[in-house]
Symmetry: C2
Subunit: 335 residues, 2 copies
């Protein structure tokens, strides 16, 4: 098995601004005071769920660019993707921005993947300012992956709730902010899970693999980090991850671990079952509370591991397994 | 409008091997002697069209790695994507390879995008050997984007035929072969085309934008290249591109232009209408005839511009426009 090489960003790409935009339900959760903007209307004033997702995505990107003091013309490239078929949530959100665009697909790992690619382009010396972003929408995702909303299907306790949310960062080759100091591209893992209502279980082995490889290669231990943050395993996947890391790798991250899927909602809201998910969940959590706490010096060193379940509605109906992946970025605050 | 910065790969990432694997129809076309393997059975021995696409993709990647003299464990990262929802054509093809994986989405521009990202990772100093790949399958694409095959819907003359094909390259930081010397990330263009049966028209403005920006920034003219190769505009899109470049930019590329969609099939085959398309079309054409001719010294300097139409079946049904993008890589032979 390929170990994967840790990418060390010695040019220290820096997150000079970030924005998180969410829907009503997310805006009623524990992070309600952390977000840049909350759409009270699930459709965000648009005609379809897909347009609504694009609207939220556009809002996050626009706010991140504006907060950085840049204009669209100052951005060398935007790296983004989402869960919708052919990543149309992204395409329709930024098609008129006139910014060179690299589309990425990593399912719910997209925020970490896009940050990793943004930092890589700065390291290669090609870009001065890049945007990394992602989004998801509960209604566009349910409609696409599961059932029409009107059907009112019951959800098992292992199911996660796709966040209506978007996160965006401006990553720069200079300036002040949280630095992306290293990263690791994930390797797909497939333990044979076929239950699309239990993606936490499908994704936990991928998170385990990436975290173990990263710690081993960097010769660090969980104690070297203020937080090891996965996004999004939910309750079921988190339990599995902690267990897998302990039993397979003899690594205990329980004292520093958190998961974006556990942070975005009130977990006593029975709707959300195992917690939040969707590209926008970790996108909005990282681009609000996490980066704010790092900027305030409350967290100095955070490993953010985005986890993605690489299934489609078709592959699920064809009873295929759910290959999963976890991409990692190490974030460090100067304070 | 952002001009986009040309990425100059002074570390000269080199394509040390390539492989192209196609279906029966492609194997009966003018490039039949160029491909590494032709599946006579459209299902490639699998149970579904989706599995068949993954099988073809896997075959191309496996052959490219094997031809490079490498094993899977020598590859630092694979960058790949395809047209299927959530890029499952790619995920299920290489999930068991144990190679770190970056998923990209650029519709039919994916071969150029994945080569551009592979070269960027080598330029950043993170990788020694990378794979860039893509695939498409006529049957999985028709089923997903248009009609069930059994419906036998008529296709207008502007429609293109999605190739059942895959292309893969191994891009290395050293070795012999064709070099990727520079590249340009495309910027989305949207001229308001809504006809999903006329994607050549939707994509031509994106190709025009990318080619004009690249020539301007590199202060080169079409005469500096042995070939300016788009993939895939087909008959309709090619005519539009040549026209747009002449009228808007005063650039005449007609003497050196070719298009992968015009090369892969016999154009007197009425089935293919305006020509080939699909990620695998330009993937298989570049990874066979083009790179072979460059290795033989028959072509020294080629601009390859992958063009992608960023629509989905849902966006088409919702009468959205078709935003398009074109990514460019400059390929240079040493001979």
């Amino acid at each position: 098995m390929k170990e994967g090489k840790v990418f060390v960003f010695d040019k220290e790409p820096v997150i000079i601004s970030h924005a998180a935009v969410v829907g009503k339900k997310e805006g009623e959760g524990p992070l309600r005071h952390e977000f840049d903007y909350i759409f009270e209307d699930s459709k965000a004033g648009e005609d379809s769920w897909e347009q609504s997702e694009s609207r939220i995505h556009r809002e996050a990107v626009t706010r991140a660019i504006s907060k950085s003091g840049c204009e669209n013309k100052d951005i060398d490239v935007i790296i983004s993707g989402d869960l919708l078929d052919q990543c149309t949530g992204t395409a329709f959100s930024i098609k008129d921005f006139g910014i060179p665009f690299v589309g990425v697909y990593g399912a719910c790992s997209t925020m970490a993947l896009s940050m990793l690619m943004a930092a890589t382009m700065i390291q290669a010396g090609f870009c001065s300012k890049t945007v990394a972003a992602t989004s998801s929408h509960f209604c566009s995702a349910e409609k696409q992956f599961r059932m029409p909303l009107e059907y009112g299907g019951q959800r098992p306790p292992t199911a996660q709730w796709t966040a209506t949310a978007s996160g965006a960062v401006v990553v720069s080759d200079s300036g002040n902010g949280v630095k992306i100091t290293s990263g690791l591209v994930g390797t797909m893992q497939d333990m044979g899970i076929t239950d699309a209502n239990n993606m936490g279980a499908a994704m936990a082995p991928a998170a385990c693999d990436t975290i173990a490889k990263y710690l081993k290669q960097t010769k660090t231990t969980p104690e070297d980090y203020d937080m090891i943050l996965t996004g999004d395993l939910g309750i079921v996947g988190t339990e599995l991850l902690l267990d897998l890391l302990k039993k397979q790798e003899n690594i205990d991250i329980s004292s520093v671990h958190n998961d974006c899927g556990l942070m975005i909602y009130n977990l006593d809201d029975r709707d959300v079952n195992s917690g939040g998910s969707g590209c926008g969940c970790s996108g909005a959590v990282v681009c609000s509370k996490i980066l704010r706490r790092m900027e305030a010096g409350e967290l100095k060193k955070v490993l953010f591991i985005g986890t993605g379940a690489l299934l489609s509605a078709v592959s699920a109906l064809q009873s295929e397994t759910i290959p999963s992946i976890a991409h990692l970025v190490c974030l460090e605050s100067e304070r």
